[in-house]
Symmetry: C2
Subunit: 241 residues, 2 copies
DNA sequence: ACAAAAGTGTTAGGCCTACACCCATGA
DNA sequence: TCATGGGTGTAGGCCTAACACTTTTGT
């Protein structure tokens, strides 16, 4: 790591951070990963200590190949979650002159989608916590706005990319998938129409039943068909909801 | 303006720039505004002198309220074009560690749409020039990639926003509008289908003929209907081409 | 009169939407 | 046996895509 206090420029430079909106889905509700802000390590003054915020942190000018690398690195450091750089999609830049009280900081917000079932155990419960979208507390800095923008970006993207793949567990049911779409888009769909459409895409493979049953009629389990997924992704498709 | 050589930070900071992809349409072809790079004013070393590049420049940490303000200010300084901050739409961040040979510079790319007929005279011909998309030379830095990304962003956006409004002259013909859509999307449409769709949106007002005629049958002139435009924009609409 | 560009309307097919009944399970 | 949740197919409407001929004007 670089030493302190020796970086001199002819003109003022802003600090640059990358923030992460990590969405997860547990089969019932869409969730987002937040951290509790502690004492700052990198800045001489502290800000928003004890408040909830999006994971994220400063660009390492010498080491981070891109800001997506910053996002991945900081997410790992702050929450324990290890994601690949390409899992991060850019949401946008937040550069308001007063958004950080300490110095001029511009942040590039990213979002990522994870299979909650697969990663929940990896998140460091000391510092990070999964929140339902409806229960998100008020956040530090302008992170409320960043989160809102990330949600709308996700809502846009779901029309053109099979986002379900990344959020759903390996094996899932149609009602779960429908519920995810309904959570993200905040609408309700007709069961039959939803099933028809999804099946017509040909991206679902039925999985033989092996699981214990519970509560009511056991729904059919599916798995995503990787091959067709790639074909569709390449072509770009249209989810006309 | 701030003095030189006095800005000290505890950790390294990147320089931040905003670049502008300004699209214009002359009724025939989609164009983009480029500048010829001269001697650098702000950096101690020069880079890409004499090459074509996108207009843009460094964030003024103390004065620019957001990076969109940087984009607007730099565009004005470098090309003479004065656009409103809200005319800039963000394309994305380009942060590759080696994208600028001088120091670490991350840039936030923006695009803007202008009525070429209305602003062509404002562009300072000493430094700036409008290029057809097919004749764009190879550009400085990673500006080729930025331009490509801006084009695809524009192609995306045209499906959801009546982008024609911002690029077309006040009074225009349906063939001109169709040609714009074809230029942006790089496809051909059926004249009748295109006319039907546009008319059904109800955003076009016929303008009585007064112009001189030339070459062949005189096309009907239209003007955009601001009121319906706003209604549509608010609702969000779908251009299903 | 001929070539070039512009205007116009109809039809077929596909996709979205709405809708009702039966089945399996647990209480 | 009842309540809950899951599965399935069809009919109508709308939007998209394909398509040919006539009008105007300049040469």
């Amino acid at each position: 790591m670089a030493q302190k206090g020796q970086y001199i420029y002819e003109y003022p430079h802003p600090a640059v951070t990358a923030d992460c909106v990590v969405f997860g889905y547990d089969g019932k509700e869409l969730k987002v990963l937040l951290i509790k802000r502690g004492k700052e390590k990198e800045a001489s003054t502290t800000a928003y200590v004890g408040e909830w915020a999006l994971p994220g942190g400063f660009l390492d000018v010498e080491k981070d190949k891109t800001v997506a690398h910053t996002a991945a690195r900081e997410l790992k450091e702050e929450t324990g979650l290890k994601l690949s750089v390409k899992d991060f999609k850019e949401v946008g830049t937040f550069s308001d002159i007063k958004r950080d009280p300490r110095e001029r900081v511009i942040t590039i917000a990213h979002y990522a989608l994870v299979k909650l079932s697969a990663v929940e155990a990896d998140t460091d419960a000391e510092k990070a916590e999964w929140f339902c979208m409806e229960e998100v507390p008020s956040l530090a800095f302008d992170h409320d706005k960043i989160l809102r923008d990330a949600c709308s970006r996700l809502r846009q993207d779901i029309h053109f990319e099979p986002v379900g793949f990344e959020l759903m567990p390996e094996v899932f049911t149609l009602p779960q998938l429908q519920n995810l779409y309904e959570s993200i888009l905040e609408v309700k769909f007709d069961r039959r129409n939803f099933a028809n459409k999804m099946k017509h895409f040909g991206m679902l493979t039925e999985v033989p039943e092996e699981e214990p049953r519970h509560g009511t009629r056991t729904p059919i389990k599916y798995r995503f068909d990787k091959e067709n997924y790639e074909r569709f992704k390449a072509k770009g498709f249209q989810l006309e909801f």
